[in-house]
Subunit: 116 residues, 2 copies
């Protein structure tokens, strides 16, 4: 058993919007992801969506409002709430979702989450 | 809806080993806690136990081995694994546990987790 060094995990890849699984907590995947630009609008009907910014800054756009997150800030998008993450510059995030949650909210367009 | 600033939440209290609830993710409490010294040996029969070090350094002692965590490092104690967190100097953590999990593994000795 060993510590999961988040910066070390993030240093091992460059792709944007391609979450890497770095651990598990109960039935959830613990993931790190690099983001830049606009993701797609989506929601998760069955789960909240947890974002913790490790480096940089992102906006979580929702229909009614936008929440800006900086390093050291966390936000949980409640289940069913449509949202779009946007990062003007590259940002690094820790995200938590139940195992097998499609990152786009739709299995047809979701990326496969590699474990690193 | 607003960002949860972890350092800001941590600055609002001084007690050690007294987790504060700062948000919810599905049926889990998201908590920040300041720790210093030795906690009690305990396990959680029904849940993994997630630790992310935000500042400082802690040891997660287990019967077979000890894992040291520094800022930016995460560790999940598997359910049922006996462990004791130890911090030589004050450290600040993000922890995640299912709602109503006793922090000592035993409702009789657990602290009440205040929401801030």
């Amino acid at each position: 058993m060993k510590a999961i060094n988040l910066a070390g995990k993030l240093a091992s890849f460059d792709e944007h919007w391609a979450p890497r699984i770095v651990g598990q907590y109960n039935d959830n995947d613990l993931m790190v992801v690099k983001v830049k630009g606009e993701f797609v609008w989506h929601d998760h009907a069955d789960t909240d969506d947890l974002f913790l910014v490790l480096e940089g800054e992102i906006d979580i756009e929702m229909l009614a409002e936008t929440v800006t997150l900086r390093a050291g800030e966390m936000f949980v998008v409640p289940k069913g709430v449509e949202h779009r993450p946007v990062a003007r510059e590259e940002a690094h995030l820790l995200i938590i979702e139940p195992r097998n949650t499609p990152n786009t909210g739709d299995p047809a367009t979701a990326v496969t989450k590699e474990t690193i």
